[in-house]
Symmetry: D2
């Protein structure tokens, strides 16, 4: 067991605090012989990086990743891959006010109650900066999946921000990269911009819902009963900062359905089973069926807002606190590449577990 | 790693198929010296048992648990506890029709694609009967928690069944045990009965949402970053058969909130911090704060319905299938004691992990 | 993590006490589709069974194994395999004298100091009866290896008993099964019988050394740095009751060698590398090379002897104790099939781990 | 599971190759609030460092450790501790000859057969440089143990080098730090120097045996059956490069003993049980008894010698090879601080596991 490790066979352990000298991920179990370099990983980090639009924190970090081990002459060797990102924008500042105070909605009070000590600078270990290390590890997973499951595509996008919802009739994945919201609908972008600008000017923040679509996933991934594919995806998404709910397929809406509505009927297609609907989100009994896998999760609004809130400090005194600093009005936006990274790690891990147990031998139909 | 083990320090491994000779749970890591006997565990199993009302499967199983090891003279010894439940109601029947067919919404096709072989009788390993073993393991966790965290109370109940929702204004936990729905509102019971009767007569089934309230949980449980308490709870609930979504606190609704709405402000109370609201569901940064912990999840409608559905068989032929047998019109009902069991195991596991790392020493406030 | 589980991918968890109702092993991670039945497992258990010669305990247990799950129509399904052995020879007797006393050389005092409670009947969990469950699990591993690595052969035998040593010049593996000592030298059997008879009549016991030879192991098994093949074998053997030392290849004698003596030179053979010697015992850098793997371990003399020894009881009183009961004068004898079982589990586990990471793709030579 | 992680609760994952930019250890599960700084860790690294005498490799590395995370204001925070050591002495050299050849006794051929790719520079991942990271992790464990088990002392020393054996009658632990052999006998040092000088001049190398004495270990550490304390120590020592055998207490010599000789009799002392002998090496049934724990292991002679040896290259050609470079004539010497580090990690890990399960509550005697 490990407190800071994710995965079973393909594993990564993240380390580092927001304002320490560096953070990173120790990736273990990576298959050997996979093409990998820093530039490839960097493209994933750049998608997550703050400071790229006015809707994300203005902290200016290059988030430059270095591969310190496990790669030789451009290929993985099967030994641990150390990915390090140095923290360069550690502004010297006075933390006096928050060092002893517990910001509402933050992990400050929980860390204090558990450990009795915490690096309070920028949230320390509970900072969203930790997710940069996940994105780097996810990039390694993506590099492996490109070779082991070349048909696989993992695509994350926003489906809700506060009162605004994606119009699914206008879903166009090609648009996701063209706007600061990872929104698959170009027409809606101006309205989303106006909405978030208003939130920001109001010194407020707002929640969001993100969906991850996994296409081309091989059937047979997932290990019942406690290492189900949906269980792993739920854990992966819930481990992301500020996430409060996770759904597979119909998700919470399944509670309102009847059995006749919900059953995904099956017909035989030319190249295997073809499901006539996908309420299940591509997973049955914890195992992928080859259909599209659909995961959705909600991110709470950024807890750091410029509006004063009531709280207490370490002495037990009632105080009022404004959380200054450079914050995203909607942290959900940056959760998109993080969720893709986590999904890639889950899929690869299950792929390798399945290879261990079944050798990739599959039951045939027809 | 294990495919069928849950937990890190307090672990249980379930084994057994629906129609094999027996099923059970191997519990490892249990603290020594805890009072435990079969009668105590049986009370938990009896709550989950089918055949107790017309709304649950008419399969008549006594689900009698036997402790085969790890308990000596009424106390746990710290060695593995083997809990075995013999399958007594294995009707001899002809499985010819479903042995080769894939029931829509069931794990049949996924197991076949993964393993190339499956015990098709009653769903085999993917049957909800596996959850009896979880409930037994959860009872052991409850026995331990009674001694290690005596203030803790874990209470599950239904909050939704199809179109019907719990009226939270009428929430009365004392009523939960008085009706077949685990419903904390006595007045609503007749309407829920009528609703489910209609579903059943319609040869249909319906989904449900269940909530688990954890009161008196010590602060400081949960291990960031990948063993967060909410991550573990999400994995625990998602691992239950037919669950499609999990929420902590506000859950998916957090996507619609603003930061000012969502922040749980804090004041100093007489015996520690007092939160003025609980959008977070009792967990911050993955660690319990001492507030009530709130978990909610959705169960899809029973996939086995008497209405014919289109599907395929192992030969790849298109067929129509009616899933006969003894089935619950709303499997969500029986998920209530299962969810309580899983929650107990998560809390105890985190309690023991925390004890390992911090020794139970806690940061003080005031 | 688990206190009672062995292995990483192919895992087994043993449970049960010497005088409880049953004991067994929960095997998880077994590949699907492998032919397996109780009769096959029974052949392995019969080799370990007590009461088969005057040199092993006269406890008469049929040690009949039952498969309770994970096998369907004669083949493994990939789900957990529960192997149960009922304890039938639980003589009712008065344990009054040893219930409160600590037998020298036994785990009694250690269990008491750790847990504060123990099942003192027959040693409880620390009894060698636990190894029956390992042998059953090892039989499953052997069944899998027959299909996945058909050239593999695992052969255990005694190389030392007290003052007697195997004359390696007379090594004949075909003789191992023909005598009660698993001795690969038929001519030496009478002398070993006389020696052990004298020990037994003297109300004494004696230690032993066992060697396990693994032929036909694929190259590439073993995962540096902390899951090396030799590390796993050392842990496996040391986990067997009463084992005090483990050696790979030259073992402790390597301390006396020079580099020129120790280097196993290599030449190219017709079907791959050929090592001109095998000081390394078939493992380099923790990874199998395809050579014979050689593991050796020492078992201390049975602690239960009829000669009175000084000890204390739970009250802290100095007492003298004779350990009555049915005991082997040389427990090392029965360690042979146990060690074979553990070796089979280690090899299969590493085989599956290797398959997970490398997919079985191997570097070529030539 | 992880290929490169050691431990269950207190874990460390080492990463890095001999000639990459850096290597290190990711320590997870460390208790919070423990005083720790780089200077403390450095004292342990300096004991292991090469270049400190003519008997260790002349590679000149400062082996300067940096703490990149997990420590705040001089105390551990309970979050992952990243320990990095930069490789500064990476001489640019031509590896042409060994890049394609397999050095006898080295892991070269095994890595190639497994992974199909390897960083051949200086042995890459299989280099003894990896052990610097273990020593750093072990220093963290030592820092924790100073607070949690202040009476504990871990002392390693050489007991054999080739034909020379420690005269136990002259054992003086105070001398260990005063000579390049970690030898607890000042008088023997000149003879050991002459012996090793002769080996070195002969372009040869020699094996060694090391013993680790653990004093003041609390009783009750060790988790039967597969996480026994002796099992963990065996795995820990066997995981060190070039180790071929591990012994606890009597070790392999137990095979020659009788039961009357081997039983460690017990009397009640003033502060608990007092054992009249220690054949068991302080561990019974896998659990510490409070006695001195004794572990011994053998290290094979350095495989890299200047004497030409026969081998093959990647093309499958028979060649002769001299392994040039800077090598220790007796790698066993540097194994002493490494073994102490591993022992510290095992003890702390078991201490924390025990705290998790039993809460440190102990059975009483008297």
């Amino acid at each position: 067991m490990s407190f800071n490790t994710f995965g079973r066979v393909f594993t990564f352990t993240t380390w580092g605090e927001s304002h320490g000298p560096a953070l990173g991920a120790t990736v273990d179990g990576c298959p050997p012989g996979i093409a990998l370099d820093e530039a490839f990983i960097q493209t994933f980090l750049d998608r997550r990086r703050p400071g790229t639009s006015k809707f994300t924190t203005q902290r200016q970090e290059p988030d430059q990743v270095r591969i310190l081990s496990g790669v030789f002459e451009g290929r993985t060797t099967g030994t641990p891959i150390q990915l390090m990102i140095e923290n360069t924008d550690q502004r010297s500042k006075d933390y006096g006010d928050i060092a002893q105070a517990f910001r509402p909605g933050h992990a400050d009070i929980a860390y204090h109650l558990k450990y009795g000590i915490r690096d309070y600078r920028g949230g320390g270990r509970s900072s969203a900066r930790e997710t940069a290390a996940r994105v780097a590890a996810g990039a390694v997973a993506q590099a492996v999946l490109r070779e082991l499951a070349p048909a696989l595509r993992i695509t994350g996008y926003m489906v809700q921000m506060g009162d605004l919802h994606l119009d699914r009739a206008k879903f166009d994945p090609k648009e996701i990269g063209n706007n600061p919201f990872f929104l698959p609908d170009a027409d809606a972008v101006p309205a989303w911009e106006d909405y978030l600008n208003a939130i920001r000017k109001d010194q407020n923040s707002v929640g969001a819902a993100i969906e991850v679509l996994i296409r081309g996933c091989p059937a047979g991934l997932g290990a019942p009963v406690y290492a189900k594919l949906d269980t792993d995806l739920a854990a992966a998404m819930m481990s992301i900062n500020a996430v409060k709910g996770v759904e597979i397929g119909e998700g919470m809406a399944a509670a309102a359905l009847t059995g006749t509505e919900n059953a995904d009927e099956i017909r035989m297609g030319n190249d295997g089973p073809r499901f006539l609907s996908n309420h299940a989100g591509g997973i049955l009994g914890g195992i992928s069926t080859g259909q599209d896998i659909l995961v959705r999760f909600a991110v709470k609004p950024t807890s750091s807002i410029l509006t004063p809130r009531r709280t207490i400090n370490q002495k037990g005194e009632d105080i009022e606190l404004i959380t200054k600093g450079r914050h995203d009005p909607c942290v959900g936006i940056r959760a998109v590449p993080i969720a893709e990274a986590m999904a890639a790690c889950v899929i690869l891990d299950q792929f390798m577990m399945d290879r261990a147990q079944t050798g990739g031998a599959r039951g045939r139909i027809g």
